[in-house]
């Protein structure tokens, strides 16, 4: 084992242990927040795979998050699925939509890719509103506590919920870490660094990018489905543009292309908004200021700056 690998395992292991231990000493309010943050950070990790590691900037990830959310929610209300099966349905829906959107949007690049993903997500949001008789539109619907059971465990119970959020975060973290250390992940990074070179090394760049979109969509959908089932609400606002901007914001703030960036960015942003919404209803002002300042002064984000200055080995 190299020294770098030891440091990587040490740091990330420590973070995972802290997340596990936090539930025993956090006050109830922050305990609940952290459960929420871990699910949202899972969403950000899915986004980061595409944006941070493959170099594709999507403005439409809310579509995948909402696909998971509604795949799960409608699976329960319309098809009477249990919570576990409904979450699986959500993930499948998200990955499937990702496969379709990926095949279309990847025919474009750069700014056009951003706009195409934005438009597809907007169409998805409007479709949710249009089928209001099933989705209840803007108002959304509540998942009853009685339905939020997996293997006899009540997901609305704070402790169970924390564990569920933690396991989803762990699972996504380990899977993504494994993917990024695999041959596939190395090719994604190569595409980010120099797409033409990757192609001229004989890699089918389009197929790899498509794979990244599907995986990223799947993880985002998992986060969406988990969010719905853990917090008991499914609504169209989760499909709106704002929820496409959020993961971009979290990842940019935490550091695109770092494993811990999504978590760090989500924690920071969540508490920034949480604190400012106590003062003003215009809490999205913080998001705007942070976005502008990040692009101007710290395009690498918090973990990226750490990597540049101190921890060269950070994955």
């Amino acid at each position: 084992m190299t020294a770098d690998l030891r440091k990587i395992i040490g740091l990330h292991g420590a973070v995972l242990v802290i997340l596990f231990a936090a539930q025993f000493f956090l006050p109830a309010y922050h305990h609940g927040n952290l459960a929420r943050i871990m699910v949202l950070a899972t969403y950000a990790m899915g986004y980061n795979l595409l944006f941070g590691y493959t170099g594709l900037l999507s403005l439409g990830h809310a579509l995948f998050f909402a696909a998971g959310l509604y795949g799960m929610g409608l699976g329960m209300t319309q098809f009477g699925l249990g919570a576990g099966a409904a979450v699986v349905l959500g993930v499948v829906a998200g990955a499937g939509i990702g496969a379709l959107i990926g095949a279309l949007a990847l025919r474009t690049e750069g700014v056009a890719f951003m706009i195409v993903t934005l438009m597809f997500a907007q169409a998805g949001y409007l479709i949710i509103l249009y089928f209001g008789s099933y989705t209840r539109g803007d108002e959304g619907f509540v998942i009853q506590q009685a339905d939020r059971l997996v293997a006899g465990l009540d997901l609305s119970d704070p402790t169970v919920r924390y564990f569920a959020a933690l396991s989803i975060f762990y699972a996504a973290f380990v899977v993504l870490m494994w993917v990024l250390r695999s041959r596939f992940g190395h090719v994604l990074i190569a595409i980010r660094e120099n797409e033409e070179r990757a192609m001229m090394l004989g890699y089918d760049v389009q197929r790899y990018k498509w794979g990244a979109v599907v995986l990223s969509a799947g993880v985002s959908a998992l986060a969406g489905a988990a969010y719905g089932v853990l917090f008991g609400y499914v609504g169209a606002s989760f499909a709106s543009v704002q929820y496409s901007i959020f993961p971009l914001l979290w990842v940019l703030l935490g550091g695109a292309g770092t494993m811990l960036g999504p978590l760090v960015g989500t924690i920071f942003m969540f508490y920034l908004i949480d604190l400012s919404s106590g003062v003003t209803t215009a809490y999205m002002l913080i998001a705007g200021i942070v976005l502008v300042c990040l692009t101007l002064f710290a395009p690498q984000g918090l973990m990226g700056e750490l990597r540049n200055r101190f921890w060269r080995w950070l994955p």
Partner: protein
């Protein structure tokens, strides 16, 4: 109402939408064409135009026409200056890198929108139109004595709406003349063609950029001042014009001014007509999907020529 008068009404309403949309979208197209910047905050400059118009006219209680005239002259300038400031302080410092400027304009979007919420508040507020005569419109019908005119109930338009259409047409023509005939337009087109070459010929590219960004936002604000007596000012009103402008600019062939105006007519008119017969949500779904598919399969736009 019968089908015929109904269609005419929808067409007239659509023409008002199209006129305002053409103004807003040509601002977006200008910025994209000359600077290659996708300005996601464009809708917020529109919103700012409407809100400032309410603010300015509210000083002139009792003299609505005078207040409105004052607003139409000053508000686009204020918004344009603000946008030019954003260009110099933010976009220029990003070297106009396409992806980073999009992220930054998303930030600017939230800043403008939320500051408006904090100061102006969450209410929708009306602006009194400077004049507003209701003009009944005739329709033809077949009677035993042949064709004859009649005035169906509800078929009417206001003089103000007609004025909006006329004003938009005049402004667009003026913009076209500036772009094609003036020295300023020449500098813009030179910068658009080749930034480096323009610099080499002594064109102050940085100032042209600030000016273009200001002009683009000013056009959106002007459109908003025109529409606010019909639509009311609200801090969230920027979303729809942004989306529609995107649609128009993309269908019109990214940055081409005549294509943009043509597409605005098409979208504005069909939006008016389609919304009469279908749900507006369905119309929007179809429009957004159309834009995405145009970008995927015909990136030069429906009206644009394929670049060699």
């Amino acid at each position: 109402m019968d089908f015929g008068p109904y269609l005419m009404l929808a067409t007239l309403e659509g023409a008002v939408t199209a006129a305002v949309l053409a103004l807003t979208a040509s601002g977006l197209a200008l910025v994209f064409g000359v600077m290659r910047v996708v300005n996601v905050a464009h809708g917020e400059f529109f919103m700012l135009g409407a809100v400032l118009a309410w603010w300015v006219t509210s000083w002139f209680e009792g003299a609505a026409a005078f207040g409105f005239a004052f607003a139409i002259l000053t508000v686009p300038l204020i918004v344009g200056a603000l946008a030019a400031l954003a260009d110099v302080t933010v976009l220029k410092r990003l070297s106009y890198d396409p992806e980073r400027t999009i992220v930054a304009t998303i930030g600017i979007l939230y800043i403008l929108q939320q500051v408006t919420l904090m100061t102006y508040g969450p209410d929708a507020r009306p602006v009194t139109p400077p004049f507003n005569t209701r003009l009944a419109l005739p329709w033809v019908e077949m009677t035993e004595t042949g064709l004859s005119l009649y005035w169906p109930w509800g078929l009417s338009i206001t003089s103000y709406k007609l004025a909006v259409i006329a004003a938009a047409t005049v402004i667009l023509l003026a913009l076209w003349i500036v772009m094609t005939r003036s020295k300023l337009g020449l500098m813009m087109r030179a910068t658009e063609q080749d930034r480096e070459m323009a610099l080499a010929f002594g064109i102050p590219v940085e100032r042209v950029y600030a000016l273009v960004f200001g002009l683009g936002a000013g056009l959106a604000a002007l459109a908003a001042v025109l529409i606010v007596p019909i639509q009311q000012a609200h801090y969230l009103m920027g979303g729809d014009p942004l989306l529609l402008s995107f649609i128009v600019v993309i269908i019109g062939g990214l940055g081409s001014l005549p294509g943009t105006v043509l597409a605005a007519l098409l979208i504005g008119l069909s939006d008016g007509i389609i919304s009469v017969f279908f749900s507006p949500t369905l119309a929007k779904i179809l429009a957004t999907l159309l834009v995405a598919l145009v970008l995927v399969f015909r990136p030069q736009g429906l009206f644009g020529a394929r670049r060699a």
